[in-house]
């Protein structure tokens, strides 16, 4: 189905009850994994609406990624497999691995499709928080980053440490593989983005996203960080989201912002919400048509859509809770946010099917 941003609508709300921290659709499109302040990860089955709690972490999880076979969801959705409003999903997904990193520094491996997944591997990966987990395009390598100012690479197959990338001087908030698989970016509290050459393990350049950082001299504290990060599928653009213009760090007074980098040139472009919303951007993604979508929140939440040619966003969706994370469905037509109110909200970016007549 064609994406029609202006038609974005709530498709379903998946209630957990305890505040959510992160969310990811699995590659088959059938499950939505949401991590919570209760230290669990909840697996919502979009087909059956079954809810399974993954118990194994003893702290909050924000980083989640998958190791799977390639392309489980066909480019065009298969009507037979459609759930709710045309969202594509694979009825019988191939087994995949979920990797989740928590705020105690532990990286857990799970069989994502099991009826009641148990962690089958635990790696004490970082001192302090793991803030993000990413898997390389060839599915061989896992990258993690955290408050110990380190980026680490692991073997996806067996959890062996492969490399430690040192150089950040503040908490590392996010990490992402370039679609080519040869480069990795990591982004920190101060808005420094490092571009690592994976063949040498050396940083080759730095991108400047310091607009996301501020030392609030009123409260004597740093605020910032790249809260969400994504490459477009062609690898020509890198999008980062966070908070900027902070006037009061301790009340969260500031504005969400997306910085869009031209990958080749490293040139940034600032994408701002057109409303004067106060809060933090927590997730960013590229739609197949090149549209950039961001989500975040302060008191409430928002989803913003940008045409990369425009600085101000073209469409805004109001979310009834602070959106603390965002994930794009593999069929490209839906996204979900992790709500501070304990609910995952799934939005379809397509025209609603004609209303079924009331009986």
């Amino acid at each position: 189905m064609a994406i029609e941003i202006a038609k974005t609508r709530l498709l379903m709300d998946l209630k957990h009850g305890r505040p959510l921290v992160g969310c990811r659709f699995d590659p088959s499109g059938r499950y939505l994994f949401a991590s919570s302040e209760d230290d669990t990860i909840v697996r919502f089955d979009l087909l059956t609406r079954e809810k399974v709690a993954l118990v194994g972490h003893s702290s909050w999880v924000r980083g989640m990624a998958f190791v799977s076979k390639p392309t489980l969801v066909p480019a065009a959705s298969i009507p037979a497999l459609a759930v709710h409003g045309g969202l594509g999903a694979v009825r019988m997904p191939e087994p995949f691995t979920l990797l989740s990193g928590d705020y105690h520094g532990n990286l857990l491996w799970w069989h994502g499709t099991e009826a009641a997944p148990k962690p089958f591997r635990t790696v004490a990966a970082h001192a302090g928080w793991i803030r993000a987990v990413a898997v390389s395009p060839d599915r061989s390598t896992v990258a993690t980053c955290g408050n110990d100012q380190l980026v680490k690479l692991w073997s996806a197959a067996d959890g062996r440490p492969l490399a430690t990338l040192e150089g950040h001087t503040s908490h590392v908030y996010n990490v992402a593989f370039h679609p080519s698989g040869t480069r990795l970016v990591s982004a920190d509290l101060k808005g420094n983005i490092k571009d690592w050459d994976l063949s040498s393990g050396k940083p080759v350049r730095e991108l400047d996203a310091k607009v996301f950082h501020k030392y609030d001299s009123g409260f004597w504290a740093d605020i910032g960080g790249i809260r969400g990060i994504a490459f477009n599928s062609a690898g020509t653009q890198l999008a980062c989201i966070g908070i900027t213009n902070v006037s009061n760090a301790f009340a969260g007074v500031g504005n969400p912002l997306v910085v869009l980098f031209d990958w080749a040139e490293g040139k940034p472009k600032l994408l701002k919400p057109k409303d004067a919303f106060q809060g933090t951007g927590w997730g960013v993604n590229f739609l197949t048509d090149g549209t950039i979508v961001g989500a975040g929140g302060g008191g409430q939440g928002r989803i913003w859509f940008w045409n990369p040619a425009d600085a101000a966003n073209t469409h805004t969706v109001t979310v009834p809770t602070n959106a603390r994370d965002m994930t794009l469905h593999p069929d490209g037509t839906a996204l979900a946010i992790a709500g501070a109110n304990g609910t995952c909200l799934v939005y379809s970016m397509t025209q609603a099917p004609a209303a079924t007549p009331k009986k």
């Binding site: 302040e37 003893s58 001192a127 928080w129 409260f219 605020i223 969260g252 809770t321």
Partner: protein
């Protein structure tokens, strides 16, 4: 592996907090004013002292002294074991945890006041705000009760994060300005303490002033004129000891240990002042008012607090001063067990904690208890009044005695409360 020392001890962080200038200044001045452990030990027997570390804004009890991990209110951090078996505190205080055997935790505080100013009043005066009544701050009371008559330095000093020092007349209330605090803004000495270069003939003019006063006093004197002329002698003594206010005269190795950031420098200055005989020092560390991203900000602030606090405990212990120095880590209140939608915690006075050390308090002890998720005190509830009584009992004073401002009796501590006797020796 577990011990992520959360201090963000990076170079650019310390630039943010302004660089510690110790090295250069000390190089010129030498270490003439440095107090040796031996000299400090001599001080210890004579006088009791108090150090308050005030974590401004309201530090989270759940991220410090009373963690509730893996509950709906606990947040993401671990509780870690301490040097005292059975007592756990937040992983954000790894250095303090190693010194739990020196600490006393009061976990059952309910001050029933969620507003910053009034909360601070409760914690600093041991009483709730009452219109028309102003009570002296703990530092003024300590200075009044404990400072030797012949002391050369002021008895009540506070070190604040920002510049703008000076003399405060508010906080001594009826005890009088003599016991009001001298503020060392960002640890700098008060205005006019150092003699300006323009004054080159101070000795001559002082001699002339004395001659005039002696002549006047031959026929006319009163307690007030004596106090007035005496204040110049006292000021001269303070001026002559201005280096007591200069932390850059401390060993650079100590500065390294405390951390080369503002709070480290302020804590080192606090140690120096206590060793030089100042009765009461309050160091404020800011800020903890984390309505937003409580966890990130507590990592940052406590990461800065933990080490200098531990170093100061070590130094006081090593120099034999801890037994005569009462150390209290307080705040205006704690923070809500409930985590709000912006990962913040809000103001919360119903169930929070204070840490103390020294002066004969039962070390390695915990008094008071909160329920499983920290939303209520379940055992040995105390308020600011109880704490105030406890401080002065520990300092060897009877807080049920009275002051007599304008001839009227005012009990030193709130008569509705009493000391927490379980933690007194």
């Amino acid at each position: 592996m577990n011990n992520c020392n959360y201090a963000c001890g990076t170079a650019d962080h310390t630039v943010n907090r302004r660089l510690f200038l110790g090295g250069a200044a000390a190089g010129l001045a030498g270490f003439a004013g440095m107090t040796t452990p031996a000299a400090a030990r001599e001080l210890k027997s004579a006088q009791k002292r108090m150090l308050v570390i005030f974590l401004s804004g309201g530090v989270s009890q759940l991220e410090t002294w009373d963690p509730k991990p893996n509950t709906d209110t606990g947040g993401p951090f671990r509780a870690i074991p301490t040097s005292v078996p059975g007592i756990h505190i937040s992983e954000l205080l790894p250095e303090a945890a190693k010194r739990m055997h020196l600490l006393t935790l009061v976990r059952g505080i309910n001050t029933k006041e969620d507003e910053h100013g009034r909360g601070a009043t409760i914690m600093l005066t041991g009483r709730r705000t009452e219109p028309g009544l102003v009570y002296p701050h703990v530092g003024a009371v300590a200075a009044k009760l404990l400072t030797d008559k012949d002391a050369e330095l002021p008895g009540h000093i506070q070190i604040t994060p920002r510049g703008g020092g000076g003399f405060n007349k508010e906080d001594a209330a009826f005890l009088g300005p003599k016991f009001a605090s001298v503020t060392l803004g960002d640890g700098k000495p008060p205005a006019d303490l150092l003699r300006p270069a323009a004054i080159t003939t101070d000795a001559e003019r002082e001699a002339f002033r004395k001659k005039l006063n002696d002549r006047f006093a031959k026929s006319r004197r009163s307690a007030q004129t004596e106090a007035y002329t005496e204040s110049y002698e006292q000021a001269a003594k303070v001026v002559s000891r201005a280096d007591a206010f200069d932390a850059s005269r401390e060993d650079p190795k100590a500065a390294d240990r405390y951390g080369r950031h503002d709070f480290g420098r302020h804590m080192l200055l606090a140690r120096r002042l206590l060793e030089q005989g100042v009765t009461f020092v309050k160091v404020s560390h800011t800020n903890y008012d984390t309505h937003h991203e409580n966890f990130d900000f507590h990592i940052e602030q406590l990461g800065e607090f933990d080490r200098p606090f531990a170093m100061l405990l070590d130094d006081l212990k090593e120099r034999g001063l801890l037994e005569s120095t009462l150390v209290v880590v307080m705040s205006e209140f704690g923070r809500t067990p409930r985590i709000n939608d912006r990962y913040g915690r809000d103001h919360w006075s119903k169930a929070w904690s204070v840490a103390m050390a020294g002066c004969g308090l039962k070390a390695g002890a915990v008094v008071g208890k909160t329920n499983a998720n920290g939303t209520a005190v379940t055992d040995r509830e105390v308020n600011g009044g109880h704490l105030f009584h406890t401080y002065f009992r520990a300092l060897g004073m009877d807080p049920t005695k009275n002051f007599y401002p304008a001839g009227r009796p005012v009990p030193i501590a709130d008569p509705k409360a009493a000391a927490i006797h379980e933690i007194l020796s």
